[in-house]
C-alpha cells in the first residue's frame, strides 16, 4: 500500500475532525452565553465575570477557538451539567454498552444481508429472489422506531418471551440488536445481490465453471471476493445510519448506551455531554472511513491510484 494513499486519507480524516470541532465551537458560541445559561438570573455581575474569566470567555474569539481545540484534543470537554463530573468520563462509561449493541446489530446486518443477497443472486428470478428483495425494500422503508415498537408489541407484550427495556441481561440485547440489524440488512442484501449478479456473468466465472469447479468453490473463491467492494462500501456507509439508528433504538428499548444519553442530554440541554458525544461520533466516523479506505486498497489495489488522483 502506497504511503501517499494512506497520508491523503489521514489528512482528510484530520480535516473532518477539525471541522467537527469547529462546528461545535461555532454552534456553542452562536447559541448563547453558556455562563448565563448555567447561572441563575439574579447572579451578581462580579460572579458572572469571574465565571467568564475562568472559562476564558473574556478573551478574543480566535484565542477562544485555539484554546477550545487544545482542550478538546486533551479530552477536556467540560463538566456535565447534571452529573458534575467530566463530560468525557460520563460518556465513556456508556461506550461498552453501545459498542455491544452496535457490534451485535452490525453482525446481524452482515450475516443476514450477505446470506440473503448471495442466495437471491444465485436463485435469481425465483420466489426466493423475490422474497429477498421484498425483505430488502421492507428494511429500507421501515422506520427503525416503528419496527422497534412492533417488536415490543409482538415479543414482549403478546408472546411475552423477551424483555423490552433495560440492559441488565443478555436477553435484553436480543430485541434492540435484531431491530438495529434488520433495518440495515435490507440495503446490504440489495447491494450484495446486484454486486454478485454483475460478477456471476464475468468471463472468469465461466472459466471457473469450465475448469469443473464446484458451485460452492466458484462462489466462495471467485465470486465473493470480486463482489465484495461495493458491499464493503455500503457497510462503511451504513455506519452513519447504524449510529443514528442506535440513538433511536437505545431510546425505545431504554438501552443504557450513548444514544439514550444523547437524547436525554439534548432534552435537558446538557451541552458538554452533547458536544462530547458529537465529537466522539465524528472520531468514530473518521476512523471507520479510514479503515474502509484501507480495506479497499487491500481488496482491490487498483483503487489506490484512482483514490490518490481524486484527492489531488
Amino acid at each position: 500500500m502506497r504511503p501517499q494513499f494512506i497520508l491523503a486519507k489521514l489528512t482528510r480524516g484530520c480535516l473532518t475532525l477539525l471541522l467537527a470541532v469547529t462546528f461545535v465551537f461555532i454552534v456553542l458560541r452562536v447559541s448563547g452565553d453558556p455562563v448565563a445559561m448555567m447561572l441563575p438570573d439574579d447572579t451578581p455581575p462580579a460572579i458572572v465575570a469571574e465565571y467568564r474569566a475562568a472559562w476564558g470567555l473574556d478573551r478574543s474569539l480566535p484565542e477562544q477557538y485555539v484554546r477550545y481545540i487544545w482542550s478538546a484534543v486533551q479530552g477536556d470537554l467540560g463538566y456535565s451539567f447534571r452529573d458534575d463530573r467530566p463530560a468525557l468520563e460520563v460518556v465513556l462509561e456508556r461506550v461498552p454498552m453501545t459498542l455491544l449493541l452496535g457490534l451485535s446489530g452490525f453482525a446481524i446486518t452482515v450475516v443476514v444481508g450477505l446470506v440473503t443477497g448471495i442466495t437471491a443472486a444465485l436463485k435469481r428470478g425465483t420466489g426466493i429472489d423475490h422474497a429477498a428483495m421484498a425483505f430488502s425494500i421492507f428494511g429500507h422503508s421501515m422506520p427503525n422506531f416503528f419496527l422497534a415498537i412492533l417488536m415490543i408489541l409482538l415479543f414482549s407484550m403478546t408472546w411475552r418471551v423477551l424483555p423490552s427495556s433495560g440492559g441488565a441481561t443478555w436477553w435484553h440485547l436480543i430485541l434492540p440488536a435484531v431491530t438495529l440489524g434488520i433495518i440495515n440488512a435490507g440495503t446490504v442484501a440489495r447491494f450484495t445481490r446486484s454486486s454478485m449478479l454483475e460478477v456471476l456473468h464475468q468471463p472468469y466465472m465461466r472459466t471457473a465453471r469450465a475448469k469443473g469447479l464446484k458451485l460452492t468453490r466458484r462462489v466462495v473463491a471467485h465470486a465473493i471476493p470480486n463482489a465484495a467492494i461495493p458491499v464493503v462500501t455500503v457497510l462503511g456507509l451504513r455506519l452513519g445510519s447504524l449510529i443514528a439508528g442506535a440513538v433511536v433504538v437505545e431510546t425505545v428499548f431504554a438501552w443504557p448506551g450513548i444514544g439514550l444519553m444523547l437524547v436525554n442530554a439534548v432534552g435537558q440541554r446538557d451541552l458538554p455531554v452533547v458536544q462530547t458525544i458529537v465529537l466522539l461520533v465524528a472520531l468514530t466516523m473518521v476512523l471507520t472511513n479510514f479503515i474502509v479506505d484501507l480495506t479497499y486498497g487491500w481488496l482491490d489495489p487498483r483503487i489506490e491510484t484512482r483514490g490518490a488522483k481524486e484527492d489531488r
Binding site: 454552534v27 422503508s141 449478479l197 452533547v274 458529537v278 461520533v281
Partner: protein
C-alpha cells in the same frame, strides 16, 4: 466520498431494481396511496371528524370501531380522549408539509452551492467540497440533534434543520453536472453570445440537469420523512399541541400495553408512505435512466 457514487455501485443498483421484476400493479397501488396521502394532507380540515386537540376525558383510550369500540371514533381515542383518526389526518398533513418544504430547502441550497462551486472553481469549489465531505462523513441525525440541543426547539429551526438533510448530495451532483455541461457545445455557444452566466445556468443548464436532480429528490424525500418522524418520535421535533406522525407514535409508546391503536396507525402511515415513494422513485429512475449516466463524475 467519490467511491460511494462510483459506477459499479449505481449500475449495480439499477440492475437490482430491474431484475426484481416488480409488477406494475404495485407501482399503481403506491401511486394511489401517495395521492391519498396528499389529498388527506390538503383537505385535513374538511376530512377530520374532530379537531386534533379536542379532548373528551370521559372517552379516554376507547378502542377502534372495528374492535367493538364506539363507532363515533373509527380508530379509537388516545390517552386524553382525542380522536385518533383526526389526529392521524392532521399528523399526516404536518409530516407531508415538512417533507415537501424541507426538500425544497435542501435541494435549493445544495444545488445553489453546486452551481457556485462549478462557476467559480478554485477556492470556492474547494471550500464547498470540504463541507460536502464533512457532511457526508458525519451522520446527519447526530448533527441535527446537536443543533436542536444548542438552539432549543422551534418550528422554523426544526424545518430548516430537517430540510438541510441531503444538501451535500445535491451540491456534489450539481457541481459535477454543471462542470460537464460547461464543457459542452451548447453552453459554449451561448457563452460566446455574451449571455450573462446566471441566465445560462438558469435557462439552459438547469433544465438539462433537472432530471438527475429530480431523481435525487425521490431518493431524498422518504429519508427526509424518516428524519423528521424520528426526531419527533424522540420528542425533539414537532412539539405538542402540534402533532406529526412521529410524535403520535412516540406518544403512543406509553400506551403500548393498553392501547396500541393510539400509535401504531401513525407508524403504518409512515411505513406505507416511505415504501410507496421508494417504489415509485425506483420506477421513475428507470424511466429517466439514460440521463443518470451523466451524473457520474
Amino acid at each position: 466520498m467519490s467511491i460511494e457514487q462510483s459506477l459499479p455501485v449505481r449500475k449495480a443498483r439499477r440492475l437490482g431494481i430491474k431484475d426484481a421484476g416488480r409488477p406494475q400493479f404495485v407501482i399503481l397501488l403506491c401511486m394511489v396511496w401517495l395521492a391519498l396521502v396528499l389529498l388527506v394532507a390538503a383537505g385535513a380540515d374538511h376530512l377530520a371528524p374532530f379537531s386534533y386537540t379536542e379532548q373528551s376525558l370521559l372517552n379516554r383510550l376507547k378502542p377502534p370501531a372495528f374492535l367493538s369500540g364506539d363507532p363515533k371514533y373509527l380508530l379509537g381515542t388516545d390517552g386524553l380522549g382525542r380522536d385518533v383518526l383526526s389526529r392521524l389526518i392532521y399528523a399526516t398533513r404536518m409530516s407531508v408539509v415538512i417533507a415537501i418544504l424541507g426538500s425544497m430547502i435542501g435541494a435549493t441550497f445544495g444545488t445553489l452551492l453546486g452551481f457556485l462551486a462549478a462557476h467559480f472553481r478554485g477556492l470556492v469549489e474547494d471550500v464547498v467540497m470540504v463541507f460536502v465531505d464533512f457532511q457526508a462523513s458525519m451522520p446527519f441525525f447526530i448533527i441535527a440533534l446537536a443543533v436542536l440541543a444548542f438552539f432549543g426547539n422551534n418550528f422554523e429551526l426544526f424545518l430548516v434543520v430537517v430540510g438541510l438533510y441531503g444538501w451535500e448530495v445535491y451540491a456534489r451532483l450539481t457541481r459535477g453536472l454543471v462542470l460537464q455541461a460547461n464543457g459542452q457545445g451548447y453552453a459554449f455557444a451561448i457563452r460566446t453570445l455574451g449571455v450573462h452566466p446566471a441566465r445560462i445556468y438558469m435557462r439552459h443548464i438547469l433544465p438539462n440537469i433537472l432530471s438527475v436532480l429530480i431523481v435525487q429528490l425521490t431518493l431524498n424525500f422518504p429519508e427526509l420523512i424518516l428524519i423528521e418522524t424520528s426526531l419527533s418520535f424522540l420528542g425533539l421535533g414537532i412539539q405538542p399541541p402540534q402533532t406529526s406522525l412521529g410524535l403520535m407514535l412516540g406518544e403512543g409508546r406509553n400506551y403500548l400495553a393498553t392501547a396500541w391503536w393510539t400509535g401504531v396507525p401513525a407508524g403504518i402511515v409512515i411505513f406505507l408512505t416511505t415504501l410507496s415513494i421508494s417504489l415509485v422513485g425506483d420506477w421513475l429512475r428507470d424511466k429517466l435512466d439514460p440521463t443518470l449516466k451523466s451524473a457520474e463524475m
